[in-house]
Symmetry: C2
Subunit: 223 residues, 2 copies
DNA sequence: GACTGGATAAGTGGATACACAGATACGCTT
DNA sequence: AAGCGTATCTGTGTATCCACTTATCCAGTC
C-alpha cells in the first residue's frame, strides 16, 4: 500500500499520461500562474482527446495546482504571499509530526543514508535549480517516510509539489548551497540525539524559517 | 475567496449535485466500506449521465472518501485502525496549529458564541448521533476558522468528513454527552487564558485522546 | 469620444455511443 | 474430480457530438 507518496490514487493509462505531462510542466515552471490551460491544445500535444485531459485537470485541481472555474476554464494556480506562508506553516507542523514519529525508526544506517542524500543535494546544487529542488524534496520525504504514516507522507508530498515552482525561482536568484547544507545538517544532528520532541521543534523551525526567504521572490505570475 | 471551507474548488451545477449527493450518502453511512459505487446507478438516481458522477468520484477520491482503481471501478474507502489513528494524529497537529493562530482573534463575543455552540451540541446529543456529529464538527471548525487560514481550514474540514462515519458509529454505541461537554469546555477555558502555546497543546491532547475511544468501534465494513 | 447593448464566435460542460479490459462462469482436458 | 483455459458479459474509459455559457467585438447612442 502507498507505494509512492506522490502518485495519484486511481488513474488509467491515457489519463495518467495527461496528468504526468501537465504536472511536470507545472513543476518545471513552464506555465505562469494565471495562464489558461486549454484542453484541446494539451490533448493534441499528447495525442489524445480532451476528455482524459479534463480528468487530469480535476486531479490537479484537487492538489491545488490549478483552479477550475465553472464554464471559464482551467487556470494555473498561483499562491499569494499569504498562501505561501500558510503552506509553510502547514508543512512545518506536518513534517514536525512526521519527524517525531520517525524517531523510533532512526538508526545508524538511516543517518548514513541521509548524509549521502545531503551530499547528492550539494552536488546537485551546482548543476542547477531543478536538480537541487528534487534532491531537497527527496531528503525531506526520506525522513517523513520513516514515520511509517502513508497518509501523512502523501499530504506532505502534495505540499512540496505546490511550493516547488517558488523554491525553484528562489534558488535561481540566490544560490546558497553552503548554508542550505548546514541547515539540513542540523536536522540530522537532532535525529542522532534521539530526542523526538526536540526533533519536532527543530523541524518546525527549519521549515517556517525558509518561508520568509523565498517570499521575497514570490509569485511566478499573479493569480 | 474561500467562502466555505468544505466546498470543492471548481465545480459546476450538475457535477456539484452528484458530488453533494454521494458525499451525503457516504457521510450518513449509507454505504459500507468496500461497497462498489456504480456510476450508472447513481447517475440515473439523480437523473443525469455518468460523466458528472465520474468527476464527482474523482473529487471524492482526492478527499480520501473513495478509492478508484483503474478499470475496476470506484469503491468506498474504509479506514483501517492504523489509518484512523493516523488521521487523528494529523488532525491534532493541524487543529493545534489552527488554534494557536486563532488566539489573537479571540475576544469575548467569540467565547460566548462558542459557549452557545456547546449548548447546541449538548441539545443535539439528545436527538441523535447525526445532529451531534454535525454540531461537534461545527464547534471545531468555528475555532479553526478564526485562524484566518483558508487552506488549513479546508484540510481540517476534509479530515472531519473522512472520520465522520466512525464518529457516528461510536456515538451510537456509547453516548456520553456529559463528558464530551466537559472536554470541550476545557478548550474554551484555554482560549480564555490567552496562552497560544498552551492552547495548541490542549487541542492536540484533546484530539489524540479521542482516537482510542472510537477505535474500539472502528470500521463500518472492511476495505 | 466613451460607454453600453447586442450579436457572433469560441470554448466549456454534459450526453451518448463505442471500444477495450476485467471478472465470472462454464466446459474441456488431464 | 479438479484445475486451467476460454468465452461471454458487465462495466469502465475514451471519443465525438451537441447545447449552453461566456467573452469579445462592433455598432449605436448619449
Amino acid at each position: 500500500m502507498a507505494a509512492d507518496a506522490i502518485e495519484p490514487l486511481g488513474i488509467t493509462t491515457a489519463e495518467e499520461e495527461a496528468y504526468r505531462h501537465i504536472q511536470r510542466a507545472l513543476r518545471m515552471g513552464r506555465y505562469r500562474a494565471g495562464d489558461r490551460l486549454i484542453p484541446e491544445e494539451i490533448a493534441t500535444e499528447i495525442g489524445m482527446s480532451r476528455m482524459p485531459v479534463r480528468e487530469a485537470f480535476r486531479q490537479l485541481a484537487a492538489e491545488g495546482l490549478v483552479v477550475i472555474r465553472p464554464n471559464r476554464g482551467c487556470i494555473v494556480a498561483g499562491l499569494t504571499l499569504d498562501e505561501i506562508y500558510e503552506t509553510f506553516e502547514i508543512r512545518s507542523v506536518l513534517e514536525g509530526l512526521a519527524v517525531r514519529l520517525a524517531m523510533p525508526h532512526i538508526d545508524v544506517e538511516v543517518l548514513e543514508e541521509l548524509e549521502r542524500q545531503l551530499d547528492r543535494m550539494e552536488r546537485a546544487s551546482q548543476t542547477g535549480s531543478s536538480d537541487w529542488v528534487v534532491r531537497h524534496q527527496a531528503f525531506h520525504l526520506q525522513i517523513c517516510q520513516l514515520s511509517n504514516r502513508p497518509k501523512l507522507v502523501r499530504q506532505i508530498a502534495s505540499l512540496h509539489v505546490v511550493i516547488e515552482p517558488y523554491l525553484r525561482i528562489w534558488f535561481d536568484y540566490v544560490d546558497k548551497p553552503a548554508s542550505a547544507r548546514a541547515e539540513h545538517e542540523i536536522l540530522i544532528e537532532v535525529l542522532r540525539s534521539g530526542d523526538a520532541g526536540k526533533a519536532e521543534i527543530v523541524m518546525r523551525d527549519h521549515i517556517v524559517e525558509t518561508a520568509p526567504l523565498l517570499a521575497n521572490f514570490a509569485s511566478p505570475g499573479r493569480r
